[in-house]
Symmetry: C2
Subunit: 390 residues, 2 copies
Amino acid sequence: MSSALGRVAEVRSGPIDDAFATLVRRPDVISFAVGAPDPALLPGDLIASLAADAIAKYGSAALQYGLTQGFPPLLDQAGILLSNRGIGCRPEQLHIATGGSGALHNVCMALLAPGSVVLVETPTYGPAVKVFRSHGATVVAVESDDRGIMPDALDVALAQHDPAFVYLLPTFQNPTGRTMPTRRREQIAEVITRRGALVVEDDVYVDLRYWGESLPAFWSFAPEHTVYITSLSKTLAPALRIGIAVLTDNLREPVFALKQGIDMQTSAFNQAIAAEFLASPVGSAHLERVVAAYAAKLDTVVTALAKHFPAEFTWTVPDGGMFLWVDGPAGFDADALLGPALESGVAFLPGSAFFTDAAPRNAMRLSFAGAPLGEIDRGIAVLARLCELP
Amino acid sequence: MSSALGRVAEVRSGPIDDAFATLVRRPDVISFAVGAPDPALLPGDLIASLAADAIAKYGSAALQYGLTQGFPPLLDQAGILLSNRGIGCRPEQLHIATGGSGALHNVCMALLAPGSVVLVETPTYGPAVKVFRSHGATVVAVESDDRGIMPDALDVALAQHDPAFVYLLPTFQNPTGRTMPTRRREQIAEVITRRGALVVEDDVYVDLRYWGESLPAFWSFAPEHTVYITSLSKTLAPALRIGIAVLTDNLREPVFALKQGIDMQTSAFNQAIAAEFLASPVGSAHLERVVAAYAAKLDTVVTALAKHFPAEFTWTVPDGGMFLWVDGPAGFDADALLGPALESGVAFLPGSAFFTDAAPRNAMRLSFAGAPLGEIDRGIAVLARLCELP
């Protein structure tokens, strides 16, 4: 038997997977590790009721094989959702994928082959790097600052690498929580358009804004050069696996054709539930409740950090999303801290999980979404005490 | 922008996709084209009720991110289901994928790369050939008879091609309806084991047996050389996208790692519903009702074929599944018949869709599952009349 397991070397279990597996076994741990919703905010009764509504309304269409592009009522609702984000795409550009990760995978299947290059921010979402590499791509990190990827560095990298695409998380970035300001979006769009490049915009946290004004999606500054990906996992429920993508015209046929071989189509049942959720005022009320709860958690984490952490540590204070980024002094070793932290009942992810290669070891990603509000102060205090040790 | 769209050439829309898209627009057509369940047999009330039960029983675990391998209660139920098919695997070999197609894609991601070879039966399930090619594999057809792939021809092909795997549909094969007898399973298992090869066994129709005794899965004859794939799409509902796989030990780590990048995990919500379905006596009662309904349809199709079709046509009479295969005389052109048939309100698939290259044009695949029982005789009569035309 020939063995073609080369892809696998790039995707072996990483720190996020390990953290998740550990946390499943250790429900006692106060976890700042995983970008998952607060279980208490997952609306079980609402979803059971929407499921019954969806079956009553759509009948066998919600249970049968369906169209690869997506379930038409959800495509309609997705169009409304996205137009509120400044994304005025045509209906035929929309695609419902099996989660945001499914959308990214489908696009990678169409665009990547051994030898491809993907440009990413520094730091970036670590699991996406593994996905790009599993499709044979080389991943090149581009210099970034607290406003995101830098225009001049991107310009040079585009000329040098001719990448398949540039992977950006402009809003409430995972892992740093930073948001690319409008002016930087314009500058990056100018570079991308001039170079004829393609951006894949990963925008799964955008609905979780706690302060400040909404910004138009990067897509709106370079619509013909952007694939946009969002998801209902962070606001409704991860287990529905509903991702929404806006495809460029040249990607529609290949992505739909490949999707048939990936999983035929996204669950029409879950798509019907999602359509009912987006169409219903109950859906907006749920979103308001979620945003209020996470805003309180972020506030509590920031207060606890200021109260407990040593003076030489700094952190981002995001306007939304699930993450903030803590930088320690030069000698601080977050990777070495992970084991003792778990022993002390607190989990986080070392910042090194979010770099493509040479990774600083003095940073931590903290997710404030999952931990119960009443345990956040204690968890941060435990972590702070460990950070003070020599 | 570099363009790596090479994969796509192999997966452009094919006859099954075209048929599905046509049928969505033409509900008036009597369809023998698509291997989809009868919409009237999709248990909407049952699924709404199981969804409410699953949320009440599992709470946020049915709505949250979960383990890549699968939702533990469904893994337990899948183990029971498979042991009833002669598949005595260890629990850690089980994997819940996003449909049977998702299971096949996950395995292809782990095993195929440009230059790989996949051996298939003649004819074989056409969309799988497209999937293998989209992963860069060369697909080689091996001589087959009415008992399936032939041992001597397989032996020669294994020696010649050193394939990544051999793709087999031993039970109620799509497209022919044929089943590999026990003796042939033993012979093929001997060849596979002696050559150290791997079989991917696609077994999504096995629960739809209308006559005769169940056979042990091919897996049971060569457990260390077989990846087994089955699904609840044909018995419960396609839209839940629940596939079940039994992985060989060397595939567990790569498949789980790759699955994280494909869609993180299969919908825990749908997995919880499936677990409740398999655990419940209501589930067995539903399956009995489905089997009785399809048995009546198969009987009606076979009677109608004998009554209406010209004498020079022959067909398989399967013991189960959704398909039978009609062979016409040498001059008959099923491909040319498809357009006129649709105009006359009847759909089928030309047999040529199920060959890797040189395809005979004188065969048709008829699916008897989807058409309403009361319209089958009329549909077959229309088709027969068109087959008589010069």
